[in-house]
């Protein structure tokens, strides 16, 4: 059974993705470069303004007037007052689970929030206003990583909701796409 399972999973994945994938190389044993799922550490998925916190795993950056926004991978967005680039001042953190991307126009911040696109009024960052949420418009990233032709650690639903993927060294991978 344990020998068949990976093959079945891979076949299911092929069917799920519905597109041709290069044939998987042999599943190697031991350590290999790949992706592992990041599970949400809590179950609160609300978008919230929080006090400034340190950068742990910064992602993309965005400059808007005097604001500098820095994505914290799959956690949210740090906001800095960058009026003086010699001294960027931390203003706060917008918690947005699963977030990686952002853009701003006319003081409205557009972000990905798991599968949703959300428009947030940030004219007063500490008093965020969610203007609109377009649900399920962005692709699911909670079953496999964006990248193809990569090994990844299979998702275990018992561990919670997957909010992102991390490139790392994984051991005895059983999933590939």
């Amino acid at each position: 059974m344990s020998r068949i399972l990976p093959a079945v999973l891979f076949l299911m994945l092929l069917i799920l993705t519905g597109c041709p994938v290069d044939p998987a190389p042999e599943f190697v044993e031991g350590e290999v470069e790949g992706y592992k799922p990041i599970y949400a550490t809590d179950t609160n998925f609300e978008i919230e303004f929080e006090p400034a916190r340190e950068l742990n795993n910064p992602g993309k950056i965005y400059s808007y007037g005097q604001l500098l926004l820095i994505n914290e991978k799959f956690e949210g967005v740090h906001i800095f007052n960058n009026a003086n680039p010699e001294r960027p001042l931390p203003m706060g953190f917008i918690k947005i689970k699963g977030n990686a991307d952002m853009a701003i126009k006319n003081e409205i911040l557009y972000v990905d929030h798991l599968q949703d696109l959300v428009a947030i009024d940030i004219s007063n960052p500490s008093k965020l206003k969610i203007l609109k949420r377009i649900e399920n418009i962005l692709p699911q990233n909670n079953q496999f990583p964006d990248q193809t032709n990569v090994y990844f650690e299979c998702v275990d639903p018992a561990k919670g909701t997957v909010i992102g993927w991390e490139q790392t060294i994984i051991v005895d991978p059983k999933c590939y796409r």
Binding site: I61, S63, E86, P90, M91, A100, K132, N149
Partner: protein
Amino acid sequence: MKKIILNILAGFALWSGMHGCAENDAMVLQDSNGTGGSMARFTIANDYLYVVDHTSLKYFDISNALSPDFRGDIRIDQGIETVFPYQGNLFIGGRNGMYIFNISNPDKPIQLSSYSHLTSCDPVVVQEDFAYVTLRVGSECRWGANGSSALDVLDISNLEQPNLLTSFPLDEPYGLGVSDSLLFVCQGNQGLNLFSLKDPANPIFRRQISSSFSYDVIPLKKQKILILTGNDGIEQYNYKDPDSIYMLSRIPVISLEDIQNE
């Protein structure tokens, strides 16, 4: 272990304290859209938000700020990664190539062309008649592809027929940014590299500006300030004088792994 965490927290508190708590400062915001890095999947052009996911271009009418409206999507290819807007066109970077879409009718993007490369990853930036594309060969790119990482320069004076001019071999390019005669290329472990574009068709390597692992850049062309993101933090540089580019500030990164490993 506990002590280390406390020290780090104290350090951060001190650092935030030194910089003051600016939460309620009145902000001067600009009444238009901002600027993202070359790795962005979101971009705004006029009243539209464009989003690239792995396979398609999605577009949203955001003229009514209270109610952004999903207008449609166009399937492009697999492995789409980045979008860069330039003068009424979108330059989309993907694993298999670069795609140019005209958005003069924002509600109906039209694909003008594609430029294929077989061994790549990563983004594209554009200035005048030239597109600069970094190609990174890595495990997350096409499996088993042969080839090497490079900076490609394309002539895009005819948007319907991008033409490869030069290919400059590089080790590990990620994001990039262009500002007049300067091209900034993030080179992973080799830091941020500066190229001269005196001849825009032939970038010439000048020197390394930052040695920390660098991932993406935003050149703020008016202020001549470069914002760099990398493993050591978010660094800002003044590049008014290309011969003496200097760091203005760094927002540090506190690695969770470092905390756990100590």
